[in-house]
Amino acid sequence: MSSQGDCHATGASRGRIATVEGIASVLLVGNPNVGKSTLFNALTKARQHVVNAPGTTVALAEGTWRTDCADVTLVDLPGTYSLIARSPDEQVAADAVSDPAHDLAVVVLDATALSRSLYLLGQVARAGRPIVAALTMIDLAEARGLAPDADALSRALGVPVIEANGRNGRGLTALGEAVTDALTSPSFVTGVTVRRREEVIRDRLSDAQELFDWVEAVGDAAVAASAPHATFTDRLDRILLNPWVGPAAFLAVVWGVFQLTTVVASPLMDGVARVVQGPIAGWVSSALGAIGAPTWLESFAVGGVLAGVGTVLSFIPLMAIMFAAVSALESTGYLARVAVVADRAMRTLGLDGRAMLPLIVGFGCNVPALSATAVLPHARQRLLTGLLVPLTSCTARLAVYLLLAHTFFPGSAGTVVFAMYVASVALVIGWGLIARHTVLRDITPEPLIIALPDYQWPHLRTLGRSVWTRVASFTRKAGTVIVVAVMALWVLQAIPVRGGHDIADVPVADSAYGAVAQGAAPALAPMGLNDWRIAASLVAGIAAKEVVIGALAQSYAIDDAGDEATLGEQVRATVERTSGGAPGAAALALMVFVLSYLPCLATLAEQRRLFGWRWTAAAAGAQFAGAYGLAILVFQVGRLL
């Protein structure tokens, strides 16, 4: 531990290093997969949150780093190979580096790929930033017979080079000291000419060549060359990237992630819902009863507020599991391989191989699938993938297919349900191609040129922290929207529009909600489903697909929603009447409609958070129109058969 006296030359005591802007701002810059996020987590611990980069949907982690001398704001920039950006994410890194509002850059140097790291450092130096370098992955480099000498490197560069390991905390204190020193007396890289911001570079290739020559000179001074030899990673890659085993291994991983969302997360979600609706709801009711609150208030507290909070809470285990799975895959180095294995297939949609994983997760639940798009490096590709995610048929929709398929196609229910999944994949491909050739024409599959990191065990503490940060961010932002929406649904159900009922004591048919459904029902006539109860369940299904069946049961005033035979019979009787004698075609139309008419509110809220409301609204509108047309087509063609 350093004493107060060690705190830089000015003798300042521990506190904030004041700058014109206030607290000093330090950027963390580095190539992808160099242990940058592990370092960030080790430095900021729990004092971090996710923010969007100014004017973009690119998420950045920002945190407070309490060094022994001062608190500084640390910004974890997207990993990049170069500041000559080829994607919006890389542009965010480039913009931040050239923004004078930041006081210092900590450039993370990967000891196993020093020249690539030094090139980036050279670019940061050209931008005129003061620099402190953190040398990571030293253990891996030593295992490979490459041992860069931090002192020699520091002499060659003219800035402090600190060996730092976010996994075991080694070197972090020294890094903190170097940074606080550099904030008071800035250290600049020698041998690199600083560029003015407005300077125009005519020939980028020969301009880069200057830096390559500089990198070579610095690298020669710091690392003894040795012939690389095949490592454990190379041997494992021979299996996991094998043309035959590779795709199978990838599908196995995807299946495992899918299992996690259904097998592990579902009971947890049910458990949370049961606790909220059971003991907690009972406790709230009796507490409100005890203080003499009116019935409507009790109903609002339980059916509105608590139901909304319960919906959000029940999502948390699912989100946490998904984030953990994706973060683990990323930190082991496997996600970089997925990009390679799935690349060719995803190229037809203008996407990158990495887009495969979120789409598969979507079949479990769309909400964590949207968050999983964060693994995609390009904002445009994240957008397209994120807009396609709602077309993947989540498990909540499966419940609707099961009821309808068993009721209307008792002999071939399995085939019908399977067909819905085929339809879901077809919709993803179809809408993907349409979007690619219309609104997202600027999306072009980039050449895939990525570094494959060494395989590593995930670092549990880093994993835990990043899961916590992301879940907190989801709960704060999407959670608020969900709670408000469920409360609004309650209000609609509580308002009597006819029959002279009291507020919050209304049969569904006489509520504002029922009136809306009755108004909407005729729109379902072309698909043979002109019935207010079906319309009502679809309206409720916008809140969450889980409530479609429950809302149907409520409308038929069945006490036990679990009694599906009775519910099925009632629905069948209704559909036989509305479809004019073609109930099968109408049931298929209903399933197709439920598959894609609108994403649930949690999905919409998450989309809005990631892509803004314009994209979310436009995609939802297009999807709704498409589903409407498709359902009509299914019914009209189906009833002729």
Binding site: Y81, S82, I84, R86, T112, A113, S115, R116, Y119, A141, R144, L146, R204, L205, A208, F212, P228, T233, D234, D237, R238, L241, N242, P243, W244, G246, P247, A336, A339, V340, V341, A342, D343, R344, A345, G353, P447, L448, I449, I450, A451, L452, P453
Partner: protein
Amino acid sequence: MPYVYPEFMLLSALAPGSSAHVRTVSTESGVVLRLREMGLRPGALIRMTGRASGGSRIVTVGAARIAIDGTTAALIEVEAA
């Protein structure tokens, strides 16, 4: 000894385990630059680690392992080392 002409070939045609020096890359300058940034600069010694599913090639440059999609790999001319 008769003069042996240097053997030029495409990176995509390089046999696993063999080494080569990068010569030229014929594609748009942004991609050429990114390849150079990743270490595939003219004259750099690379080793073909293998061909992955989906047609990508895995090459080693120095100590770094780089994956390049098949189309791009076919734009890189190398000289057998």
